[in-house]
């Protein structure tokens, strides 16, 4: 696993009780599967990156600190092996990755973690 995901910050903030907007998207040539997970309960997947971005809103969370993860899986396609992925929370980029699978590699991936502070 060698894809490096750039986390813009180790912590992200949100307002208690206010819905949280999530964004997952990729504009590369590879087939890409993305996941953003918040705490133990919330897990949002996006495989249909060729059909567009995924924007979803989750209900507001109680005040607290939540461990979050982003996962990225990249697979070579008939068009190529580039990826250009972004994850956003409330419009703020929390993680991104851009690159190309190495020659001879069919699939690869990466993950990153950060904390969501709801107050």
């Amino acid at each position: 696993m060698s894809i490096s995901i750039n986390s813009t910050s180790t912590t992200v903030s949100a307002v208690a009780g206010k819905p949280i907007k999530l964004f997952l998207g990729d504009t590369g040539k590879a087939r890409v599967s993305m996941n953003i997970s918040i705490g133990k309960e919330i897990s949002i997947d996006h495989d249909e990156t060729w059909s567009g971005k995924r924007e979803t809103t989750i209900p507001g969370l109680p005040a607290g600190t939540y461990q979050c993860f982003v996962f990225l899986y990249v697979f070579r396609s008939g068009l190529g092996a580039t990826y250009n992925s972004a994850y956003k929370i409330n419009g703020q980029v929390v993680a991104s990755a851009k690159g190309n699978l190495k020659d001879g590699v069919f699939n690869d991936g990466g993950d990153a973690k950060f904390k969501l502070i709801v107050s």
Binding site: M1, G28, K29, W50, G78, G80, G104, N107
Partner: protein, 375 residues
């Protein structure tokens, strides 16, 4: 003449079928496939080759998008020597960043993404004078039903792969558990093992999906070619004309199809007028080919007809009016093409019966090393 022709080529076949010959070809591989995601559906066509006489068929087969393709000239034809063609699809390289979302927007976007640029050159003798022909072409194509497009089939295979999703979830659960339970981070070996399982799951889904790809899936292609002919000893350059070609293949069954192509050429020099006052002409060429293949698609039989006239037109000189043929896949990516039939004479005087042998090779991954995958 046919028997002599076959005997002389049988030795050649023995050579090219050997692994040593394949290695001798070095980087000359073939595959009209988008890396591993197109099946080996046909010998690589290089559209510019049609303008310089690399292809003696009136049929223009549809260019399939690939990194890079090479067509070697008729190997036993005395009509030309050392002809070759190369092609590249820019969007399949890293220089053009049109992603999957662009491709999925529709047929126009698929056509844009499939644009291929090709170059071909050939040499021939006309009235004891040696000439060099050079041509360039721009081609594209799309499938009538985009769900038959191998690129999109691969994407659907990705979306409909529960085994991959399960393997991914197993990895995610393991990562989250180790972090939230403050356990040691997953080892690199364990990570690699998870990703290997994820990859294998997707490969299985891809393999199953690609079985649905057929060489005769209906599609249409458009190309534009432009070229020149020049006396190798000097003495000026003349245009081979500008050609617009529309070609298609229509599926007529599980293993059969009909190719049709129409070529309109403007201002092509009449090569018999070379050396004197050059004359130019316009022409139209239509052709149809019926093809039937074996179940494993490694051999295809065909019969073709064209309206090529034996009237001395350079555009139609040397083209088959009617021909029988077969394409045989020698190995992954290497195709042998054989044709025999009635052809317009190269000198424009009537017709001749002629045989032709071509070797079509496309390096599928010349611009990037591809994983070793099976069809």
């Amino acid at each position: 003449m046919l028997i002599r022709y076959l005997l002389s080529t049988s030795i050649f076949l023995g050579i090219v079928a050997s692994p040593a010959f394949g290695q001798e070809l070095g980087k000359l591989e073939e595959d009209p496939s988008l890396k591993k995601y197109l099946v080996d559906v046909a010998p690589s066509p290089v559209t510019a080759g049609g303008l310089v006489g690399l292809s003696k068929s009136a049929i223009t087969t549809i260019q399939t998008a690939q990194d890079f393709g090479i067509l070697l000239n008729p190997l036993t034809s005395k009509d030309s020597k050392a002809g070759m063609g190369i092609s590249v699809t820019p969007s399949r390289t890293d220089f053009v960043n049109w992603g999957g979302a662009f491709y999925m927007k529709g047929k126009l976007h698929q056509a844009a993404s499939n644009v291929t640029i090709s170059y071909a050159q050939n040499f021939s003798e006309i009235a004891a004078v040696s000439y060099k022909k050079v041509a360039y072409s721009l081609d594209t194509y799309f499938y009538f039903d985009q769900e038959r497009d191998p690129v999109i089939l691969g994407y659907r295979a990705f979306l409909n792969c529960p085994a991959r999703r399960t393997a991914q979830k197993d990895y995610q659960d393991a990562v989250k558990s180790s972090v939230m339970n403050e356990q040691p981070a997953m080892s690199a070996e364990k990570q690699a093992d998870h990703f290997k399982k994820i990859g294998e799951a997707q490969k299985t889904c891809d393999t199953d999906a690609m079985k649905a790809v057929k060489w005769n899936d209906s599609r249409i292609g458009i190309s534009y070619s432009d070229g020149d002919i020049e006396n190798e000893s000097g003495g000026g350059k003349h245009s081979l004309g500008r050609s617009l070609i529309i070609s298609s293949i229509i599926s007529t069954g599980d293993d059969s199809g009909v190719y049709a192509s129409y070529r309109r050429t403007q201002d092509a020099v009449d090569t018999k007028s070379l050396g004197t006052a050059a004359k130019f002409e316009n022409s139209s060429l239509a052709a149809v080919r019926f093809v039937s293949g074996t179940g494993d698609a490694s051999m295809r039989y065909m019969i073709e007809f064209s309206n090529a006239k034996s009237s001395g037109s350079e555009v139609t000189s040397g083209l088959y009016q009617r021909a029988l043929g077969l394409d045989k896949q020698l190995s992954k990516g290497v195709w042998l093409q054989f044709r025999y039939g009635k052809s317009t004479a190269n000198d424009g005087k009537g017709t001749v019966n002629k045989g032709l042998l071509n070797l079509a090779i496309t390096p599928s991954c010349l611009l990037a090393k591809c994983p070793d995958t099976k069809k």
